[in-house]
């Protein structure tokens, strides 16, 4: 198999896409937003519970999409719990750099290691939007916008 494909569809990505973590609605969420990629019709909905100290206490997602978008959403939900809103946005910023093949030095070593599995997307420009969809939806949820569209 092609080396780029091997990096894109690593076992850990396939595992997240087959068994997404934190999948389903979150009844107590106080921040919710949908992400929509009109190009492929993929949709993802992000649920966040944020406490009075602006800390994310719980997170989940639902929706359907390709392996890349589902894995990315699943991985994101694993990493957000316990972070402050500012930390979540920094993480997103680092992630966006990573999948575009840019320097992601704003990420600390631990985060970078965990997100590194998504770096293969950078070799597939047509698929970067798939990887970023859930993250944009998360940002919209935090901003109270309700909707994010990537195309």
């Amino acid at each position: 198999m092609d080396q780029g494909l091997r990096e894109l569809y690593q076992e850990i990505i396939l595992d997240h896409s087959r068994h997404p973590r934190h999948f389903g609605a979150l009844p107590d969420a106080n921040h919710v937003a949908e992400g929509h990629n009109p190009l492929c019709g993929d949709k993802v909905k992000i649920y966040l519970s944020v406490d009075l100290d602006n800390r994310i206490t719980d997170v989940s997602f639902e929706g359907r999409g390709c392996a890349i978008s589902v894995a990315s959403a699943s991985l994101m939900t694993e990493m957000l719990k316990g972070r402050s809103i500012d930390e979540a946005e920094e993480l997103m910023d680092g992630f966006l750099h990573l999948v575009k093949g840019d320097d992601a030095r704003t990420l600390d070593e631990d985060d970078r290691e965990r997100l590194e599995v998504m770096a293969g997307v950078s070799a597939f420009p047509m698929r970067i939007k798939c990887a970023t969809l859930a993250w944009h939806a998360m940002k919209s949820a935090l901003d109270g916008k309700g909707k994010a569209v990537t195309e």
Binding site: Y9, L14, L39, C40, G41, D42, C66, I68, M126
Partner: protein, 416 residues
């Protein structure tokens, strides 16, 4: 479209020699031989078309219908010859029934704006099938939003077939137009257009056919079909982008109001008033796509030079082979198995999203479309978020079918 495919292979169909006319087919992608199976999105162009456009531009080009100088006359002649060529291709009765547009989308929007808009009262209906392309849906949504028109959807069967009787049933006293694809860009289904037209006319309702796929894969005779409007696009017919045509039956032309306003479409303009040219000029405001029209005529020459019946037979033999072999694979489902269908195959590899599948195929050099194909109501009907689509053209080969099957096998391996 009625020609039955030959049962024996057409040994005189020299695909290797045809392929030499399409320079791009010789290139590689990702280090693999290109296997171009995204023809329903757009077809590649034979060198002949490019040469004609180049020669015209470098020897006879000027604006049309305005100058008195030599070149303007020459260019006007070529542009009007292109119209006659399209007329002949569709077997229209009159050349003024052929209106050049920017593509199929503009052709349908033209009917919506110039023909239907003035006729629509709130509650009036437009009948369409669930397998229409967005370009044959959204212009009617405009009329719903702006004028209170009602869209009446006709379902297709699980095989993807459209029963003309169901179309007839959907037509009521308030129906103003039936808008139906001649061939689904997703399922490949050929619709029984002549029968649909007959049933609609019996109720006094005109029919628009989206021929963007139908005109590519078979012989179209708008007079035999008796269809009122027929939309085609050039770039799927091996011609350039930016050119298409609308066939509009002469009896409708007079009542159609102008589309865009500008030069060429007027008879006289004063400070107080304006009068309009007759069709087709009335609907061709501004400088038209002149070079592209000449290119389209060259593409139609190319197609008819090969032979539309022979192209259809060749494409169908490939598509049938591909469908058969895809069905033999584990976990592959074909969506759209109409008895009468063109060389367009939508399929799904269970557990693999269409975009992942298309990405993996691409790395094997195989270009297919993955996604909703601008037909979201149809995706909803079949409860899929998207499909992969392989569509065949006159230059595809049996070994390209092999490459498709091998690449789908690779995808199966990636996803385990």
């Amino acid at each position: 479209m009625s020609a039955e495919p030959r049962t024996r292979p057409d040994t005189s169909y020299d695909v290797a020699s045809l392929r030499r006319d399409f320079t791009i087919l010789g290139r590689e992608v990702h280090g693999r031989k290109l296997v171009y199976l995204d023809n329903a999105a757009s077809a590649q162009k034979p060198i002949h078309v490019l040469e004609v456009m180049n020669n015209f531009t470098t020897s006879e080009y000027a604006n049309v219908h305005r100058g008195v100088h030599f070149l303007s006359g020459a260019a006007t002649e070529r542009y009007e010859e292109a119209r006659l060529r399209v007329q002949r291709f569709l077997n229209a009765a009159h050349s003024d029934e052929i209106i050049f547009t920017r593509g199929g989308t503009e052709a349908i929007n033209l009917v919506s704006y110039a023909y239907l808009t003035p006729l629509i009262q709130p509650g009036d209906e437009i009948v369409l099938s669930v397998m229409e392309h967005h370009s044959n849906i959204v212009p009617w949504h405009f009329l719903r939003e702006r004028q209170g028109a009602v869209l009446k959807w006709v379902d297709v069967s699980d095989l993807g077939e459209l029963d003309p009787a169901d179309v007839a049933k959907a037509i009521g006293p308030k129906t103003k137009l039936v808008a139906i694809s001649h061939m689904s860009n997703v399922l490949g289904t050929k619709t029984a257009l002549a029968e649909i037209v007959r049933l609609a006319h019996a109720k006094g309702v005109p029919v628009l056919a989206d021929g963007c796929q139908g005109a590519v894969h078979g012989i179209v005779d708008v007079q035999a079909l008796d269809v009122d409007f027929y939309a085609v696009t050039g770039h799927k017919l091996y011609g350039p982008t930016g050119i298409g045509a609308l066939y509009a039956k002469r009896k409708h032309l007079k009542a159609m109001r102008p589309f865009q306003g500008g030069g060429e479409m007027i008879r006289e303009v004063s400070r107080e008033n304006v009068t309009y040219a007759d069709a087709p000029m009335r609907f061709e405001a501004g400088t038209p796509p002149i070079i592209e029209a000449v290119g389209l005529a060259a593409a139609l020459d190319y197609i008819d030079g090969v032979g539309r019946d022979r192209i259809e037979a060749h494409e169908l033999s490939l598509a049938r082979l591909a469908a058969k072999r895809l069905k033999e694979m584990n976990g592959v489902r074909i969506i759209g198995e109409a008895r009468d269908k063109g060389p367009i195959i939508s399929f799904e590899a269970i557990g693999i999203h269409a975009h992942d599948l298309a990405t993996i195929l691409d790395r094997e050099g195989v270009a297919v479309r993955g996604g909703h194909h601008c037909a979201q109501p149809l995706m909803e009907r079949f409860n899929v978020s998207g499909t992969a689509r392989a569509s065949f053209a006159l230059y595809n080969t049996v070994s390209e079918v092999d490459a498709l099957i091998a690449a789908v096998g690779e995808a199966r391996k990636v996803f385990g």
